[in-house]
């Protein structure tokens, strides 16, 4: 088994070849993960800059910071960049790429060259979208509703739609790679039910990527084509139905939110097990819950269209199905909580993010149930209630899961430990900033403040100021990790192969791992999260 006494091996994936070509032409999944880390972080901060502008404008009731047209472009680009270029790729392409082969005991993914190609596709799509941004932006909302996007909008709809279209193939090919890898390349003895739950979540996410993304691809292509050729598919004047666009758009975009949250749930499973030194309670239920979320997630898209003109009967069906999809998520929350019960609960930074996720995702998920009820949804649709709901899940959930995972596996990725004090501080700042930003928005929405408006009645100002203040705190919270994580690369203490004392194949190899991940193919004879087994072999 891999040595646990060597703090840092002489040869590992980071020093296995120097120079820009060795990175840009790499086939190593770990290096590709870092390429993604750099680019998703870039897009996160560009999208974040849009958010700063939005919250600054909304600090006062009058729309005086930017014009209404500019404001429309700001929230559109914020959504496009955050959804397609950060939230959807982040955990799968960064943590997934790094960990999937190691967690299954393989040397790399099934298709390493395809993996690199996926990154280039992502970058190409991102460049298209950034080009659209700097040459005038787009104002349709990230949802591109027709016929505004196909007929009336005078902004850069086509380059943005094409940018997202191109990047979609990155998700599709990454999903394909993960599915084949998990099916066909597991190490001897690693049965499905011995896999860490992160792999189950990644697998479920990959299913959604493969089944859903092609539909948004063809839909955006149709938007671009209709804008150029005036086909009439979504234009009522030519016999088309704008709601058809919404059916096609949301068929992907609802499952997309599960692409965004499932990987974070997978991370949380790992963090909770390691942080409590216990197997995750009800492992099979959590595993099947991931699959159930992936499947049921495809059956609920019409809940985005309750007021759009779909039939009442259709709305009823989608409402019922939307209640159902909450169940597997709830199962996971119960099981994580049960794992913590009588566990050796730790308070290290990754675990703080995990606990934050559990609490904030629960709030976001419960408010989702409010929205599944058609009557209540009609009242709060297109208000800040919706905005708060999805930010609780995307930011309170996914981003916390991402940061938790980044911190937990940072020693494995870099071989170094970060400054725990600063890390805890950032986690606290992020938690406070986040809630201050978004909780007032639930109230604002319920009181009737519409979303996507750059001005509002003065009655709403206090809550908006609170929200903007929270946003500035949140921004600071996000910047601090950039500093100490980068600092740790050079000056951090050496981590050793298993700084957390956790169970998992990734902790049996060195930090950083060698290019081929393991010096010998592991043979797995233990169950997942086997914390009570004698400390030989698999616990370093």
């Amino acid at each position: 088994m891999a040595s646990s006494t060597v703090l840092i091996p002489p040869r590992h994936y980071l020093n296995d070849g120097y120079g820009i070509a060795s990175w840009l032409l790499t086939r190593d999944h770990k290096r590709i993960a870092l390429l993604y880390l750099a680019t998703v972080t870039l897009f996160f901060f560009v999208g974040g800059a849009m958010a700063v502008m939005i919250r600054l404008d909304l600090a006062t009731p009058a729309g005086d910071l930017v014009t209404d047209e500019t404001y429309n472009k700001l929230f559109t680009m914020h959504g496009v960049l955050m959804v397609f270029f950060f939230l959807i790729p982040a955990i799968p392409a960064v943590l997934g790429n790094f960990l999937v082969p190691i967690m299954i005991g393989a040397k790399d993914l099934a298709f390493p060259k395809l993996n690199l190609f996926s990154w280039y596709i992502y970058v190409a799509g991102g460049l298209f979208t950034l080009y659209a941004l700097v040459t005038g932006g787009v104002d349709t909302g990230w949802t591109f509703y027709t016929p505004f996007s196909t007929v009336s909008s005078t902004t850069n709809v086509i380059p943005t739609a094409l940018g997202i279209f191109i990047t979609g193939f990155s998700s599709i090919l990454t999903g394909l790679n993960f599915i084949v890898t998990i099916h066909r390349m597991r190490a001897p003895g690693l049965t499905w039910f011995r896999m860490p739950l992160f792999l189950w979540s990644t697998y479920a996410t990959s299913l959604i990527n493969v089944l859903g993304t092609p539909v948004i691809a063809i839909t955006l292509l149709l938007v671009a084509a209709e804008r150029v050729f005036h086909f009439g598919f979504f234009d009522p004047r030519l016999g088309g139905d704008p709601v058809l666009f919404q059916h096609l758009f949301w068929f992907y975009s609802h499952p997309a939110v599960y692409i965004m949250v499932l990987p974070a749930m997978g991370v949380v499973s790992e963090l909770v097990a390691a942080g409590c030194r216990k197997p995750v309670f009800g492992y099979p239920f959590v595993a099947f819950a991931s699959l159930a979320i992936a499947v049921l997630g495809f059956l609920v898209w019409g809940h985005h269209m309750f007021v759009a003109g779909e039939s009442v009967y259709s709305a009823l069906i989608f409402s019922m199905l939307s209640f159902l999809v909450a169940i597997p998520s709830a199962v996971k929350v119960f099981n994580w909580t049960a794992t913590m019960y009588k566990g050796a609960v730790s308070w290290e930074t990754p675990m703080l993010y995990a606990y934050g996720f559990i609490g904030l995702f629960t709030i976001g998920g419960l408010t989702g149930l409010f929205l599944a009820a058609v009557g209540l949804d009609v009242h709060v649709t297109d208000t800040y209630f919706i905005v708060a709901h999805f930010h609780y899940i995307m930011v309170g959930g996914t981003i916390m899961g991402y940061l938790g995972g980044l911190h937990y596996w940072w020693p494995k990725i870099s071989g170094r430990l970060y400054n725990e004090g600063l890390a805890k501080l950032s986690a606290g700042i992020i938690f406070i900033g986040f809630n201050l930003t978004f909780f007032p928005q639930f109230v604002l929405g319920y009181m009737g403040m519409p979303r996507r408006y750059h001005a509002y009645p003065p009655d709403f100002q206090v809550l908006n100021v609170l929200s903007s203040a929270g946003a500035s705190i949140l921004g600071v919270g996000y910047l601090i990790p950039m500093v100490y994580l980068m600092w740790s690369l050079r000056y951090g203490r050496l981590a050793g192969s298993n700084p957390w004392g956790a169970v998992g194949l990734e902790w049996t190899t060195t930090s950083p791992p060698p290019t081929e991940n393991f010096t010998e193919t592991p043979v797995v004879t233990w169950e997942a999260y086997d914390y009570h087994a004698p400390a030989e072999g698999h616990v370093a």
């Binding site: 539909v215 068929f251 009442v312 069906i317 989608f318």
Partner: protein, 97 residues
């Protein structure tokens, strides 16, 4: 992955059936069968696709995983059509006034 090697006559037989079905579906189009026209055309197309999948693509001799992938893709397309058409077909209904 089919290690099973089909004899060439299987391919020729499937080819003949496919050509016959093509002839059949074109002929049916020349008769007014009302709603049956669409059903017949789609049923014949589905049958042709099925034998291409089973024999030309060797799915009949493939693993359960391959079957799951094939059936899954059809089922997922089915979800898109069923729930979308569920909206369109119920829009004229006025059961609750």
């Amino acid at each position: 992955m089919a290690a099973h090697i089909l004899p060439k006559r299987v391919y020729y037989t499937i080819f003949a059936i496919l050509m016959f079905c093509t002839y059949l579906t074109v002929q049916i189009a020349f008769f007014d069968l009302g709603r049956l026209n669409a059903i017949a055309a789609l049923a014949i197309a589905a049958f042709k696709a099925t034998i291409v999948i089973l024999f030309f693509m060797h799915v009949k001799y493939s693993t359960r995983l391959t079957w799951a992938v094939v059936l899954g893709s059809i089922f997922w397309f089915g979800i898109l059509v069923a729930l979308t058409m569920g909206d369109y077909l119920t829009r004229p209904w006025r059961m609750f006034g």
